[in-house]
Symmetry: D2
Subunit: 384 residues, 4 copies
């Protein structure tokens, strides 16, 4: 409960500092009998890795997941799944300069105010490298969700002030997203945005952006009221990602300026069983469908069966090559330019982290949902 675990039944605990021996996670609560191998984890870790010509950091991270436990003969055992990746680039000397300085926009000083001690090398635990454990755990969650027909897809919706088309708008192309370095769902717009990001980087600066995410196949009814709402848990998951500064669901902040008659989604009837997305519902319950999805796929924090839709705002990478005024441990203020080569925009690398955190929320809610009502198959009073 000290902040390094996430989830109740499907629970991930991450560990590791950027330049310590290793990073990774334990996934506790994954049901037994799920087919799982290291390749499913490596696939997601590859998506998280800094790219080639794109705006990401040039640091090499050849992360290879090692499954330490919880899988036997290709299937999950129901026991904790421990996953580890060694940190390869541990030359501490490169970071000696950071020992006594509090970089602007980073957690250096707040971390020290909290603990009285910090590992200054590469941000220590507050480094983006911590997300490796999240992505590895999220890969397990995604595998579980896939078996239930639930699919999660994230992309960069805006970068450096350049916005991609919205889903349903002309030119929106999710296939394109995984093929350009910014992960934007439109080839030309991605190129324009990349040009702006690179121009900022040439000036020793960096760019912010927005990551969007949608989820298809959620069964109506998923989500726990009143503090365990879908949006509440997703909001916590998103804001737990470094550099995230906001989140909105469905119409989001635009809803604040709308009238009720505009925001309420018009209900259409949906004949039971006709929708491939939803699970079979209890007999007698009509399955509903809505003309629009301003609700973002949930009402009262519980899934309607429409796609989940939300957006996360990311601030620009705080590490910039420009000289900035910051303080050191003696309380002196001085100019400092963060050394090294940094991500020009965090969004493309944030996409798999947003997906992973979404998967962790949904896997947990899926298991919690099993306890929401009594089921009574014939021949036995209740079912376990």
């Amino acid at each position: 409960m000290a902040g390094n675990s996430f989830g109740v039944l499907f629970r991930v605990t991450t560990f590791g500092e950027s330049h310590g021996p290793a990073v990774g996670c334990i996934v506790d609560g994954c049901p037994a009998g799920l087919s799982l191998g290291e390749e499913a984890i490596d696939r997601e870790l590859r998506r998280r890795r800094p790219g080639g010509g794109g705006p990401q950091s040039a640091r090499r991270e050849e992360d290879k997941a090692e499954l330490l436990s919880g899988v036997f003969e290709g299937k999950t055992l129901g026991t904790p799944i421990a996953i580890m990746a060694r940190n390869q680039d541990q030359r501490s000397d490169d970071y000696e300069e950071l020992r006594d300085i509090y970089r602007p926009g980073h957690a250096d000083w707040t971390w020290e105010a909290k603990y009285g001690i910090r590992d200054h090398r590469g941000g220590g635990r507050s480094s983006g490298r911590e997300t490796l454990g999240r992505v590895a755990g999220g890969a397990v969650a995604k595998t579980l969700l896939a078996g239930f027909g639930i699919r999660i897809q994230g992309w960069t919706a805006a970068a450096a002030g350049v916005a991609a088309p919205l889903p349903g708008e002309a030119g929106f192309d999710l296939d394109a997203a995984e093929q350009n370095p910014l992960r934007m769902p439109h080839r030309e717009i991605a190129e324009q945005a990349l040009a702006k990001v690179e121009a900022l980087r040439a000036q020793g600066d960096s760019a912010g952006g927005i990551v969007a995410c949608s989820v298809h196949g959620l069964p109506p009814g998923l989500g726990e009221p009143v503090f365990g709402k879908l949006d509440a848990l997703l909001a916590a998951a998103m804001l737990s990602i470094g550099a995230a500064k906001g989140v909105e669901f469905g119409a989001g902040f635009a809803a604040a300026a709308a009238a009720g008659s505009q925001q309420n989604d018009r209900t259409l009837r949906w004949s039971a069983g006709s929708g491939g997305d939803a699970l079979p519902l209890p007999p007698g319950t009509p399955a509903l469908r809505y003309e629009t999805n301003r609700a973002g796929g949930m009402l009262g924090g519980i899934a309607t069966g429409m796609p989940l839709a939300f957006r996360v705002a990311f601030k620009p990478t705080p590490s910039i090559a420009q000289s900035q005024q910051c303080a050191d441990r003696r309380g002196l203020v001085r100019e400092f330019a963060v050394p090294g080569r940094h991500d020009g925009c965090v969004c493309p690398r944030a996409v798999p982290v947003v997906e992973a955190m979404t998967a962790l929320v949904l896997a947990d809610l899926l298991l919690l949902h099993r306890s929401s009502r009594i089921t009574s198959p014939e021949g036995y009073p209740f079912r376990i």
Copy 2:
């Protein structure tokens, strides 16, 4: 863990349906020795109550908190504090029409999809009345925080598309906020916004808005990394409030379009002890202050000592007098106008709920923070 509890060490569990016998909460984990009486709770409950001429619902709720346990001779015992308010207006017949219909924008259908059963009267547990337990629990948390010098203040930053000045801008007047029915920090702008809300209500419609909140006096270091970050927990708290559709911290969504050199706050030196806001820091740690507060008072999810600043987007009240297309339990679609008189804009009543949830997050983090490091007073190895 089924969603009705919030917090780890300072933990509130709310109970009650809108038209059941009672609503309320249990606060578990409040430290012993705190002065607490029913009047501290009643004060907050009064702020939550529907007002007179304003845009709130005309339903009478004369809520009187009853303290059932946990307080003895005016002081907390360290035991669970149970607080209850009877529901007075339980005429179920008024709601018979709602038994078979799923109101648009409400959780009627999703609740039934989850549980297979719902209390249809007034929204049952998904009613805004559930927030009474939150506000009562938040009143206890506020009392605890006040002893540490931590002050929480919320207000309506925008309603029906009309925005109030930001803190620091000309005309921003928090004293005004508690004196107009919309709780906006500017008398004239509040009147303009109220006129637009009333115009919408005259058309059988409703308005959305934005609630802002700031917190002064947080000690640097508060907040748990990496999943228990200040912003992560506050985001969960805010999105757990009905009708909330988004949250942003500091510069928020604007940060997504900014450059790194604009977003990073410039560090100023702050001589230790000079700031009334912060707690004494460990010897040798300089206390920092920033020229701006685009970070919203936190870095890496840990408090910097600058004021917390965040904003929550609320959708318009979904209950509107206009006829809307919605579905009933047989799966038929029909026109339906929600009967009764409803809030024209949820923001003014959301303000005390936003404050209460903020208080619950901070009280919990304050207690969690006590375990973050070893303290060693002289004469004894460690301190408990």
Copy 3:
């Protein structure tokens, strides 16, 4: 997490001091759709109430459970079930003498060492009256378990050094247990034990005893490894009851002196489906049965399908009429005889508490168990 909640998915939180306004509980996580009324709760509360001519305290407690939430038209809603009983006998003056004294064998001094404050009236929160909330919550759990065919039965196995026959031994008669004031499963032995308890009470003294409990109908596989084992959770549940000093499962302490060949239960085959107790097992899994049950119904903390069997040792009531040496708040030592009339032996009133705590453990494990593996009915990849 401050100690007043029990369980993860089926979670009870009790509240209340002995002489405060009320005692009770919230049950969070009970599945929706369960038939539940106040009479099911009152039935268990009656069993807990001090009896007539038996060794129990003469204090009148006419406890009437009031259901404040969570039930609608006779069925659980899946929302928190709040249950309250008013304290009727609040004459604080009777207890003024206890304000400054630490009774021997009671938690008066330790409570004050912890919190610096205590409600001295009747033991405050450390009073046996706190168990009312447990028994009420346990009644809900029992109702849930009954639907799964799980039956819990406790009795007094020994009192004042007089032991009743063991299950399977000649004369063991569970029907008799509810008909004598000590709740022992043998009429004559109960009378002998009662005579010894009354003889002790005549001397201003009290008696200890042992409560035994068995559970039939548990599905094989119930229980969470490695820290959530059936016996681990039951042990915590039992030792959380005031006056409990030990617990043993199956052969218990006798196993410590046995050889492995004596302790291991011999496996008999058990054709699938023939046992009315167990749930249908996955195809291909043989259902086992054992010749003996020295394991007490579990191996590795997971249910075998044989009856659960365990025993709890209770110390004598610490409140005795004899004068005892104890300390007061000024640190002075003096002689003190606890005033009033007290239980001669806690066992008969502990029986329903042991049963209630057992029910709470099993209801929680039943819900947790639903997440242990993936189930794949035909026609859909996985089942929620």
Copy 4:
């Protein structure tokens, strides 16, 4: 919450199967600033390792702890401490025979009934090897407790029916305990007991025993009412150890046959500050001391300041060389002798596990205790 984590604030999660790649743990919530190195962990792991000529298994386990995270320049960072040990002896072929058989007294069948799958090699996750993670985590907890002056000591109190002297009895010698293979606190009695264990082993049989544990230096007030009592948490901790069948505190089961006047400990006055064991108490609170310790160091589940004293019953090792009747996966019953060489008595190896689990309980309660009351140093309203 799926059973592989223990503790709230000081929380350990163990992972690993006996013959998978590795076993270990994550400790989350250890305060920052504690001096910790691999040698402190290795010391405890060595105590857990199978011995030379004693009754333990001949399997070689040269466990070397690797600290993967959470420690920087010899001090804890306040971040998760991940500890791993590779499994060296993974020849799966040796275990092929166990794939289809359910060994008597082991969790083979119950594990499979739960999960539908198990790692049959060496017991998989239900192997005693899982305790390596507990002992490693317990070593961190012991280091923390040592700084507070809290010392934990376990020993074998009985083996094969031969009992060692009790603390305070003639011949009781804790120094001797670590020098004989059974860890009994009396050299000659240890030799007698060892002879009986070896005689049983010569017959292909095994022996049970009792492990006792005492804790000195606990501050009065430690322990959380009402479900988080010292004894409740310790009971859960003890019964979570494989082969444990019972636990008793202080007078334990003997209290069940005693009279109240015998069980209540007589209070002696204790002048504040005179006892080296206890922490400074709040002004005005007298520190108490008792003539005897039948309560086992706690009243109402809260520490009195007297030593904690409890005993754990262990059943004989279920793996015996004698042929036993057991079932296989096809449901056939056959004779089976567990191959290999096994512990003759689990007690000596259980001692460090009992100590580790005790340390985990106490470290968690120590951190929880910090939130029990408000503290008010001069010059500032409250203290964080």
